[in-house]
Structure formats: C-alpha cells, structure tokens
Symmetry: none
Subunit: 203 residues, 4 copies
DNA sequence: TATGAATGAGTCTTCATTCAT
DNA sequence: TATGAATGAAGACTCATTCAT
C-alpha cells in the first residue's frame, strides 16, 4: 500500500478548498468573509451556517494539512523495508511529494501560523514538533547505521525540513518538474544534506 | 573589509524598527496604524508626517531588507580570495549570518510579500530573483571548478536558499547557537547540499 | 364566581410561555428567533409554522395580558356587593393579585410597548386607556359616595395604577409576601392614596 | 440653597442628550449606532471617538441619572427644617420634580436596566437600593414621630417610589400639570399613602 | 410540522486616513 | 510635528425570515 504517494484531491471539503485559494492569494487577514463566501458560492450567512467563524475555517484548514502530513508520513515510514536509509528516503519522498502536490495547502498552513489564535497556534506547533521528531529520528537512525556522516543530525534534519517546506514556496504545477521529479531531485539533495556516504562505503 | 559580517543595528530608522516588531508579532494586516504610531512613540498624524501610508512603511522595510541582503552579499563575494569555493563559502556565511542576526527583518520581508501592493511586490520579486542569481552563479562556478558534484546546480541553489531563509524561522538569540555558530554549522550543510567533494579530491 | 382571584397557569400557550420567559430576560430586541424556538422546543421553521413573525408573538402575548387584565377586572367588579367601596376594593385586589401572580407577563407587556409596531402599539394603548377608565370610574364613584376624600380623583387613580403596576417590578414568588398578602397590604395603601375616610365616618 | 428644585438642562452632554432621545423612542436594542451618530450630528466613527461602545453610552446615561437623583435627594433632605415630616415632604418633592422635569431620562434609566451588561446592572441596582433606603428612612422616621400611621413603612415607601417613578411614564411637558403642580398634587397623595394623620392630630 | 441550508439587510465596531489647531 | 476630532469604507458577524425536503 502506497496511498501516501498519491494526491487526495477529493478530501478537502469545497468550502475549505475555496478558503484555501483565498488565503493563498490574499492571506488570512487580507481575505474578507465576503470573499470567502463568494469563492465558496455562498452568501455570507450561508458560510456561517457551516463554520462559526472565519478563524474556524483557518483552523480546520490547518488541522487538515497537519493531519494529512502526519498520517502520510507514518504510512510512508511503515510501507516497505525498515532499514534506516529506506525509511529516510520514503519519509523525504513523502514530504517532498506532499509539499509539491499540495503546495498551496502547505504554504497556507505554514504562512498563517501567526493568524491562528493562541490556542490553535499551540496546537499547530505541537503538530509541527511531533512531525519534526519523525525526521529527527530517521536522520539519527541513519547516522547510527552509518548511512549519514553529519556531525549534527538535528541541524541536518532542520535543514532538510527547510528544503522540503521550501518546495511549497516555489513549486508550480506547470513548472519544469512534476511532484515525482521534485521528490527524486530534492530527495537526493536531502541525502547529501545529511552527509550521505553512499550505500557501498557504508557497509 | 568585512563589514558584511557585523550586524548594523543603527541602520534601521526607529519608525521602521517599531513597525518591524509590530509586523512580526501581528502581521501587516493585523497591525493598525494606531499600533504602529504608538510603538514608534508618535501620534497617528505624526506617523503620517513621516510616511504617506501604512503600505509605504512596509515597502521601506522590505526595501531595506532586500538592499541590505544585496549589498552585503556583494561585499562578501568581493572580500577575499576569488576562487569559486571561497566565494560560495562567503556568500553562504553572509546569508546565514544575516538571517540569524536580522531574523525578524528577514522573516517579515519574506512573509509579507503578499501584503505588498502589486507594484511593490514586483519590485520585491525582482530583488529576490537578482539575489538568487548570485547563488546560482556561485554554485554553477563551484560545479564548473570541480568543488561540487550536484547534477542540478539550480535545484541545489534553491535548496540552499531554503536552508538559509529557514534560519529566520527558527533562530532565537537565546538559543543554542549564535549567528556565527549557525553560519559554521549550516554552512557545512549547504556545502553538502551542493555535493561538496572535498578540497583535495577536487584538485 | 371569583375565578378572577385564581391564577390561570394553563391559559398561556406553551410557545407564548417560552417567549415570555425570553422577553423577560433579554427583552424583545435582545431575543432572537432562534432562542425563542429553542425555548419552545421547536425548530425555527417550526416556530414560524405557529406564528408568522416574531412581532406576532409579542402581539399575542400583549393581547393576552391586556385581555386577561380586562376580563378579570370586569369579573371582579361584577362579583359581589355593588357599593362603590366594595367595587374599588375588588378591582384593586384583582389588579394587585394579577400583577403579583403574573408579574412576568405584566412586566413584559408593560416594558415592551415600544417594541410593538405602531398599529399594535395603538391597540395596546387603547386597551390600557380602557383599563384605566375602569379605575377612574371606581375612584370617582367612591369620592361621590363619600368613601374617598381625594380632591383629584384622576391623579389618585393614576397613582394607584402606578402602585399596582409597580408590583410586577419587584414581586418575587419567594419573597416575604404571597400574592394575597400583596393584595391585602397594598390594597390598604391604595385606599389611603385615594384619601379613604373610613367606612363609619363616611356614612 | 435649593438648587435641587431647578432643572439643570445644561448638564447632559450633547451626545448623551441625543442618545437619550433615541433610546426613549426606540429602546436601547432598537437603536442602532448609526441612528445614535446621526442624532448627535456625527458619523459613526465620530461617535466612537467619544465613546468606546454603545453600551458605554447607556452606562454614562444611567450613571448620570442615578447620580443626579442621589445628589438632589441629599440636597433636598439637607435644605430646610429637619423634622421628619419636612424631610419627607422635601424628598418627595424632589423625586416628583425630577421625574417630571427629567421624565425622559428617568424613563430610560428605569426601562433599560435589562440592557445593561451584568457589571453595570449591578451598579445600577446598588444605586437604586441606596436611593430607596433614603425613602425608607424618611418614612420610618415619620412613623416614629407620629406623622404617619402606616403599619408597613417599607411597603408604603415602595408604593411611594412606584408613584414617583410612574410620573416619568405619563408626564408630558404640555400636559395639564407642570412639574411643580405634579409635585404638589402627587406629594399629597404620597403623604396619604404613608398614612398621614395630619399635623395637628399627630402632636 | 422538523430539518438543513440559505439569504438580504442589518448589527456593532474598526480601519486607514485627513484636517484644523 | 503633536493633538483631538472626524470620516467613508469596510470589517466580522447576526438578524428575521424562507424554502426544499
């Protein structure tokens, strides 16, 4: 099972889909409820029939993004050989695919953290930390097993996270690379960032 | 001359300094002119005496950040040995230092792009592209000269940019690393991301 | 027949009962149809099945209050000796009982006059004037028959009305006095307000 | 000094004056901020320059009314002979004058209690109780000194309060009685309500 | 009658901005 | 430049009401 590789376009409810587009274009504070409603094909009170507030829409969007990231990451880690290099490769592939396939969602979830009210910001940060710990672990395992030579695994993991999240900043569906291409090319760069020493030499 | 290494705290005019703090905390749209004025120790009309609009403040802040990045980068490139590896190292060091020393400024300049009106957004993007071309060139030179093995220099440069900009997201003055520490540790990671093959073996 | 002395709790239809409580707590404009529906155990469209508008509910409530006041007053006047003092006493007793027993209804009917649309406000005022004329007549008769010494019967009647209506402002079911106690104690005060000269001396 | 007898028309700030008229006509919840602003000859933000909220306007109006009632009452009690009947008469005169002269203000302060948010409602009620205690005391003193025969002084005081407050419900500047006429005629009724036994017979 | 979904008009409030002083 | 006062436009949100099911 490798569902974690395929995009799931059907999953975002239409109102969130519309909100996503609005927030990506104008930002949370730069988007009015009128715009949100119009984008969703509703009147303003119609929008409020489904969500109690503008903030609640952002929160739902953010939760969707973070949950999707988490569940796909775990699926990727579990799906295949369990040696640390394979796990690293699959997790990176998953992150890169997602940040390319769902670039807009990832972008908004990342750039609107400050727009979340404290309670939900804390929730987001907890999700983000939990997510980061997956990568920390995988890089540390790779170092332990001799795949990676980085003397600072946590910094390498942080750099790798920046690379993956950076994808959502520049990825365009009509660009040179498709998501799979991004995953391959930047997956290799992430390996290097961790100080990959080569399969052969490490054994 | 290595002024590009030292922070220049005096350079941000007080109003921009105050605005920076406000925008960092609440975002551009989340900050009112009343807050800006108060943070700057001015009345609202007093603020308008210095700047014709809220947007103009953001624009000035953004220009300051991009110009500082540009001029320091060029100073770094010019300041020392001109072999491509040295130039790469100094440019990376400059970028990392700046994103740590001026993390807030870099963060705001990056995260408020969408808050710029079209004209100024275009200006920002031009600056950003011009800036990116510096790194593209340095990486390409490094590949040409055998320092780097990456088969995709532009992608490596993009990944490196993500690493450097990422610093402004997580850097805290009271954290484990000081700016110089960041520059050293993440400088090494950036080298790896470009596929650094070692000084010796490359000659 | 002295039904006019006993409260008639069954008589307020449940929807009006619920609306009464809502209006008493938050006022007409401060109560939403959603609250009305919920208080009545109905959905909003369910509420509109019974009443064509929120205003119609208030109107019904108001009519109920004014009609009840009117019919009980007439029953009280008719029920017993027809000398003017007895008629005065019974009318006052009726008013005081009602304003204590149905304090909430009286309170709402009185305090939401301004919330009635012009047509219904006029109707309310007509009812109120008709009601006041009962008291005017009874006081005037008492003066004519030598029971009361007030030189200004209409003003005395107005003061008495204030006393009776005032009951609905302060009466609490768990207070010191029960409705009958209120009727007795304040009935005496109302007599005094009319300049009661004593049964004996007046004959 | 008998300032407590003369109306003080200059004292209500113009915005409160305008709000008073609006609230009297349509009620607090029935009056929009737009109406308030227009009545005050301001734009809506102009109104908010002077008051932070609609509620704050009502609170100010209410405080003004209650403070005026309190300070005039005390002035009336202090101004003249200190025997309990004179004090009773002057307090009643003061209350009646005020409820006629400032009928609208008294009406609004009374009828919008439920529109005050809990904190300010509590404040109002404290003022009202403090005010009522003045009358309780004066009636009790009158009973003690043999001026009044009422067996229930507190109930008599409550009835008298209802009479005085009732004035603000029906008083019209162009009506039969002017404020002084109201004070005289209803002052006598209030005496009767307390069971006035006559100056002579009481000595 | 209950329900979910919807809406035009309106709510209070705040915005960036200006002007007279 | 500071201040108090002001405003048109817009903000998020709620209202009473309706309709298809």
């Amino acid at each position: 099972m490798d569902d974690w590789r395929v995009p799931d376009p059907s999953s975002l409810p239409p109102i969130l889909e519309a909100a996503l587009e609005c927030f990506a274009r104008g930002g949370y504070h730069g988007t009015s409820t009128r715009e949100l409603a119009e984008a969703a094909g509703l009147s303003v009170p119609g929008l409020y029939h489904h969500y109690p507030s503008k903030q609640a829409i952002l929160v739902d969007l953010d939760r969707f993004a973070m949950n999707s990231l988490w569940s796909r990451s775990n699926a990727a880690l579990a799906d295949g050989p369990q040696d640390s290099l394979s796990r690293f490769d699959r997790l990176i592939e998953c992150l890169l695919l997602l940040h390319a396939q769902s670039a807009t969602l990832a972008f908004v979830a990342f750039s609107e953290i400050r727009s979340l009210e404290p309670e939900f910001r804390a929730e987001h940060i907890a999700s983000r930390d939990r997510q980061q710990s997956l990568l920390d672990e995988v890089v540390a395992d790779g170092v332990r097993d001799g795949y990676f030579s980085t003397p600072h695994p946590r910094d390498a993991a942080r750099a790798i996270t920046s690379i993956c999240m950076g994808v959502s900043q520049w990825f365009r569906p009509d660009g040179e690379l498709d998501p799979a291409g991004v995953a391959e090319r930047y997956g290799e760069i992430c390996r290097q960032a961790a100080g990959y020493v080569g399969r052969a030499s490490s054994r």
